[in-house]
Amino acid sequence: MIQSYNFSCQGESHKVDDKPCQDASFSAVYDDGLAMAIVCDGHGGERYFRSDVGARMATEVIRDSVKTFVENVDKTLFAGKPYTAVEAITSEEVIKKQTPADIVLRQLFSSIIYQWNQKIADHAANTTISDWELQHVDKKYIDELHTSETFEKLYGCTLMVYVQTPDYWLAFHLGDGKCISFQQEPFWHEPIPWDDRCFLNKTTSLCDSNAINEFRYCYQGDGQYPWAIFLGSDGMDDSFGEDANLVNFYIQVVKMLAGEGREATIKSIEEELPVLSKIGSKDDMSVAFIYNKDELSAHISDFIQYQIDLVRQNIAQTDSIVNKLESKINSITTITDEKTRIELDYAKQDIQRAHEGRAKLLYKYDVLMQQLSKEISNTIKYGKEE
């Protein structure tokens, strides 16, 4: 059973600055088997003062364009095809080598850009300047609405999309944020190629003049589908730092979906993402995901085991660090100068922190082992009842 969910909330820094949530998200599962998840993230600078509108309009345009695309495209272009990933175009030579699948996807992207430009042009022409805009935005940017040929910058946003049909799935991305999928092998990955131009606070954008070449994408039609796929705005990945932490959070969502049900999970996401923004990135937060409930239930032990393996690795790394520090401390037999004394103090301090970190990892390990044990017991009990 395929299900979907999406949620966006105002970031902590936007609350402080009295800015609206500039993220928008959408998800749906339709009767014909089409499932879709979208996350759009409006840019945060003062110039992009209507990026919340731009992001909302982008989700609407993508939703309608994708539906039309899926209804009309020759599905044999994707059905039966292995996992294929295509990077953003940086050379015109690449365009000459495009496959029929690349060509129809480029038409979809072109249509999205065109319709989004139309929508924001209408909005710019027909929407009066609000009191909030007059109070918060420099006049030079407001003037750009009607005088500049690049007014679309004011509405700039990123986009990230996952589409699943009974015959194939595809995903595309322009800008930052992270898309993480879970399946048999590899257990998790980022299916859409990354674009190195998205770095720290810089991102490619739907408002770029060359946006059509900034789309990167992937598709697969050989019957393999993700068990679950998560789309998160950069507010999410900036809160977790390393990818492993973000993946671990999504596994928590998966475990909750399987263990406590959809309603409890939704309640928790809606309560905890604003908290995450406060303790993490301070940015707007968006997540949209599609999941196969049956696959998650069948593989929940794999998710817990993955977390356990990760904690084991971290414990091993910590032990290695402790060993090195102990060797360093033991090698200092006499303190001959200030530098040696400082190095010794650092080593002692670091070893204490490593022990504290190890204790926390052991606690995590115990919690996860208990979860795994409970899951195995339930499986055995369920099996016996059957």
Partner: protein, 247 residues
């Protein structure tokens, strides 16, 4: 089970402040003494900024360069932990070597940086009183190709009129980011102002208005410089109303 329970890690975001310090022979005496004194005194302030800042933790790294290059520690340290080891002067000015070494460490692979997600762009403060004696252009070229460096806040402190301000301008990307000091007190004050301002602005989630963090740091440092006797934020590299006085 909660989504943010004990099995989930939400690390603090980090911003690393780099000091690149010229320890060539010409820095000997009062100049290097002032640098040592100023950095020791600014570390507790950086710690205060880090501890009271909900957005990010500040880490500090320091590279001294003369005939060779040397990191004070083999990893950035939290501002609260950083113990300054006085640097001494002697030798040549291997700025190119320092640039290449910095480029190597502005990386995740064998370097000082973590994932770009969860990190803020670093702030880099370069102090020099002379001109490079090595092939600085190839080192600087490596640095300029580095994404972390491109995004970094970059400020240079030219110690006296013998500092090669054209090179410092090349390093920071603009003459406005080069502050010249002409006496010991000005040097100490400017190190403090630049380190504090870069850390405050660099470790915040957002900047005021639509200017970059680099522009905001330059503006704030230039404003502060007006009140420091013997310091000048030259809009033109050659203008100077001061005569060097190094006691």
């Amino acid at each position: 089970m909660g989504l943010l329970d004990e099995t989930v890690s939400v690390p603090r975001r980090t911003m690393t402040l780099f000091f690149l310090i010229d320890t060539s022979g010409s820095m000997e005496g009062s100049k290097i003494g002032a640098v040592n004194d100023a950095v020791v005194n600014v570390l507790p302030i950086l710690n205060d900024i880090s501890e009271t800042n909900p957005d990010a933790e500040i880490k500090v790294a320091a590279l001294e360069f003369s005939s060779g290059v040397n990191w004070l520690y083999d990893e950035p340290k939290a501002a609260s932990d950083f113990i300054w080891q006085d640097v001494s002067a002697g030798g040549l000015t291997s700025l190119g070597g320092a640039c290449a070494e910095l480029a190597a460490k502005l990386s995740r692979t064998g370097g000082f940086m973590q994932s770009a997600s969860g990190s803020f762009a670093p702030a880099i403060i370069l102090l020099s009183d002379g001109g490079p004696t090595d092939d600085y252009e190839s080192g600087l070229a490596k640095l300029k190709a580095n994404n972390w460096f491109k995004s970094a806040i970059k400020i240079a402190i030219a110690i006296g009129d013998d500092a090669d301000k054209d090179v410092l301008k090349e390093f920071t990307g603009s003459s406005e980011a080069v502050i010249t000091v002409h006496n010991i007190d000005a040097l100490k004050q400017i190190i403090r102002v630049v380190a504090v301002t870069s850390s405050q602005i660099g470790s915040k989630s957002s900047t005021a208005g639509d200017i970059t963090k680099q522009e905001q740091v330059i503006k704030d440092v230039q404003d502060a410089t007006q009140n420091i006797d013997g310091a000048e934020a030259a809009t033109t590299v050659d203008s100077s109303q001061y005569i060097d006085d190094w006691g």
